[in-house]
């Protein structure tokens, strides 16, 4: 029978604790959860009949709930929703083949949790502000008083747009720099994407020691005071979804 795999857990010598925890929770469609263990690591799985498998939002949320519960007591690597292994045997072989890499990743996330920080701007407002600023700067073109052709005028119009875009980007980069500096001071690992949408200045995930949550909240509050025009949203804590650098073969 196939099995749905939820996470790979660092059990060390503590399999009893994991068994006890699993006895109290259920997998998808109210199935029992059990483990496939190899030395110090274990895959948490539940039997699944692939014909009966329902993939929908609530099932994905339920799946994430199992990972969440496990993460409260164990160091683990969350597995992406929808991962099904053929059998106990293939699961075991998979653990064996990737043992070292799994251990490395587990070590990296040990005692740490993930947070997400997104910072949005009102892009129109930001543009207006920057425009006002650039208007006060001396004009760059059309200064010699020579009658320009339509092509030159077109080019200078483009140049003006180009300079504006550059200044907007520079402004945003400075904000990002400031945010990431703040995060780096927390002794965290973080990864970010900038400008994913026009209004998203930064979308960053942060891996932080469990007891440093307050410091993070404080840092975000300080940033907010600096940038009152920006919208911040900090979420967490999450299992380390964004910090598993492993493709399992």
């Amino acid at each position: 029978m196939e099995m749905m795999i939820y996470s790979i857990v660092s059990v060390k010598k503590n399999t009893k604790k994991l068994d006890a925890l699993l006895a109290g929770i259920k997998g998808l469609s109210n199935t029992d959860l059990y483990v496939v263990t190899l030395d110090e690591i274990a895959a948490v799985v539940s039997d699944v009949n692939r014909a009966d498998l329902i993939v929908d939002k609530s099932s994905a949320i339920e799946y994430a709930g199992v990972i969440e519960t496990l993460a409260q007591q164990f160091t683990l690597l969350p597995v992406r929703y929808g991962s099904v292994m053929e059998s106990t045997d293939t699961t075991k072989k998979m653990l064996e083949r990737n043992y070292n890499e799994i251990q490395c990743n587990l070590l990296k996330v040990e005692n740490k949790v993930e947070y997400g920080l997104k910072v949005f701007c009102d892009s129109e407002k930001l543009k207006t502000e920057l425009k006002d600023k650039s208007e006060t700067e001396p004009a760059i073109e059309l200064e010699q008083g020579i009658e320009k052709s339509i092509y030159s005028k077109y080019l200078y119009k483009k140049l003006k747009e180009h300079r504006f875009e550059e200044s907007l980007l520079a402004h945003i980069d400075a904000i990002i720099q400031n945010i990431t500096t703040h995060l780096a001071q927390l002794n965290s690992i973080h990864r970010f994407k900038k400008m994913v949408t026009e209004t998203t200045i930064i979308d960053v995930v942060i891996l932080l020691k469990k007891n440093e949550k307050e410091g993070l909240i404080q840092a975000v509050k300080e940033l907010q005071i600096q940038y009152t025009g920006l919208k911040f949203v900090l979420t967490g804590q999450w299992p380390p979804y964004n910090f598993v650098d492993i493709t399992i073969k």
Partner: protein, 114 residues
Amino acid sequence: MSENKILFNTGSLDEISEEMAKLASKEESRLELSPENADSGLAKLVLTIVELIRKLVEKQAMRRVDGGSLTEEEIERLGETLMKLEMKMEELKKHFNLTDRDLNINLGPLGNLM
């Protein structure tokens, strides 16, 4: 999963969820190629790439102009070229019934080029 995971936020939750929905739908403009729309799908793909290159050329040209190394004559010619390219592009978009939005592509960490 009913637990609230928001630790801190500024701006109203309505605004934020709207922004996040935009973020999540970011990639909605993906290219759908199928036997039924092979023609228009291909036009979209090709024009997207052409537009990308045109924008890159334009950016590069602006850097040169900004550098101040070009003569009046060069500026004149460059302006003419870029303007004609833009006009040609408009024609093509019209011809294939495509809007700027259709030709928008996501460059991942670089954001939207257009």
